[in-house]
């Protein structure tokens, strides 16, 4: 494990940080320093293009979106770009690796950036917050930091797709876990003193952007995830992914309507749980007041300190 002191982490919050996933942004900004890592935000960052940017604007334009953010980060003397959003990671990391590997692409990106007097030298690492926490911090450090263990809380660790696929098990992705059966999220929960329940749907898909565009096609996917969590006796579902968090949380009522179920399982970010376990403020740091689906277990979390 290399010394974080040598690294300068620049933070890319992504668009959802200003909307649906404020609580991810909030909690990350709280726990990352608490875990002993410095990070500063990329100045005037732009959207990464998400999963449909390619369709909307084409491949080079989408790559260039990341190119611009990376160029900015380079200007801030970053060594590593860190992001908590799966889609942002996917695009920014993916683009970064392609720009590194493909000279022609790099030339084109820089030709485009030149219009804004920018260029990217392609010497940054783009890393997912979870990978950084696993590889740079480690589970023991998390345990050490816990002052308010989340005893008795049963957590279903729902990793989702893009946090681990296609990069988690690759060299450039930091080789920090497997594609189908990742354990880091459960280990996070355990480190926080909670109980990680046996949950086989860790990496099954919530429907991603298709869930936003045509929910009717994907509600059953989310239903299966909720069902598995309920069967496992989970109090809350924990996830690292903004879109997963929104989809699994927001569609519960629609699912209950369509399938006659009665799901009411809060979906929180792992970082919210960590913030709480680190004894930070439930509202200002953990942002636990922002979760729409609530049960008493969640309320207990919010209250006790």
């Amino acid at each position: 494990m290399s010394d974080p002191g040598k690294k300068k982490f620049v933070y890319y919050p992504g668009c959802s940080s200003q909307g649906s996933s404020k609580h991810l942004d909030q909690s990350l900004r709280a726990i990352v320093p608490a875990l002993g890592l410095e990070m500063e935000e990329i100045d005037d960052w732009n959207c990464c293009g998400a999963s449909v940017g390619n369709i909307g604007g084409g491949r080079l334009a989408t790559t260039t979106l990341s190119g611009r953010n990376l160029a900015k980060a380079e200007q801030q003397q970053a060594t590593d770009v860190i992001t908590g959003c799966a889609a942002c990671y996917l695009n920014t990391h993916g683009s970064n690796e392609k720009i590194k590997a493909d000279i022609a692409l790099r030339r084109n990106v820089n030709e485009s950036l030149a219009v804004g007097d920018m260029s990217y030298e392609a010497n940054l690492q783009v890393r997912h917050a979870c990978e950084v926490i696993v590889n740079e911090v480690g589970f023991d450090k998390i345990k050490e930091r816990v002052t308010n263990p989340l005893e008795g809380l049963k957590v279903a660790g729902y990793v989702g797709c893009q946090t681990v696929r296609p990069f988690a098990n690759t060299e450039s992705g930091g080789n920090y876990d497997t594609f189908d059966d990742p354990e880091f999220l459960d280990q996070f929960a355990e480190a926080c003193g909670a109980e990680a329940v046996e949950f086989d749907f860790k990496t099954s898909c919530c429907g991603g952007s298709v869930a936003v565009i045509s929910p009717e096609k994907t509600l059953h996917l989310i239903k299966d995830i909720l069902q598995a969590a309920e069967d496992a006796g989970a109090d809350v579902i924990s996830t690292p992914c903004p879109l997963c968090q929104t989809n699994v949380e927001m569609y519960q009522s629609a699912i209950n309507k369509k399938f006659g179920t009665e799901f009411n399982i809060p979906v929180v970010f792992y970082s919210q749980l960590m913030a709480k376990a680190f004894g930070l403020d439930a509202k200002d740091d953990a942002g636990l007041h922002r979760n729409t689906v609530r049960n008493d277990k969640l309320e207990i979390l919010v209250k006790d300190a």
Partner: protein, 205 residues
């Protein structure tokens, strides 16, 4: 920005396949497909797809251009990347499917596809503000179906939207902007220009 497509004279005329290999991100690996079915079998909504990636790839080899670009498989990808990480031949299936969807849009296929509409609204927000305003993107997407449908759709999701607003997770007021917004738009325009230029060249060669 449409790269000219080769016309294929007969089944398995490789003109189209070679065009795809060249013009779709990751498709240079497509020739490695051995039709094992792992991709389609791993897809979370594979049963909703008319062809699924595996058969789509065979159709590309067979030069079935129209069928490929009109296939709903392009629009049902949830980007879960299971196919990509499991492909025994290392083919970036997700990228190729998305690339094909992008091409289909630019080539004027599938204008009625929900995902195409959404992508359009998304890109609109992006090029206007440099960031995605979930509220505006969704609204624009809904209304792309026409006023009536739009209102209907937004009402369907009013409950969700309201919940978000209450929890301060839907931004109200003027959208967040990239300050160097103009530059960004110019940069993107340039990028699209370059891409168009290269594909024209690509198609000729």
């Amino acid at each position: 920005m449409t790269a000219s497509l080769p016309e294929n004279s007969h089944k398995y005329d490789l003109g189209f396949a070679r065009w795809v290999y060249k013009n779709i991100n990751g498709a240079d690996k497509l020739s490695m497909c051995m039709q094992c079915g792992t991709c389609s079998g791993s897809c979370p909504i594979g049963s909703d797809m008319d062809n699924g990636p595996r058969k789509l790839f065979m159709m590309i080899r067979a030069g079935m251009k129209e069928e490929v670009f009109n296939s709903d498989t392009l629009w049902n990808c949830t980007s879960c990347y299971r196919c990509t990480v499991r492909c025994p031949r290392g083919i970036p299936v997700t990228y190729i499917v998305q690339g094909l969807a992008a091409k289909a849009t630019h080539l004027g296929y599938a204008t009625e596809q929900d995902a195409a509409r959404f992508a359009k609204s998304f890109w609109w927000s992006l090029t206007h503000f440099g960031r995605t305003d979930e509220r505006l993107v969704t609204a624009k997407y809904y209304f792309s179906f026409g006023l009536v449908k739009g209102i209907k759709k937004s009402l369907e999701n009013l409950k969700i939207a309201f919940g978000m607003v209450m929890k301060g997770r839907m931004h109200l007021g003027p959208p967040h902007k990239v300050s160097a917004n103009k530059d960004l738009r110019a940069i993107l325009a340039k990028a699209q220009e370059i891409e168009a230029r290269e594909q024209q060249g690509g198609a000729e060669s």
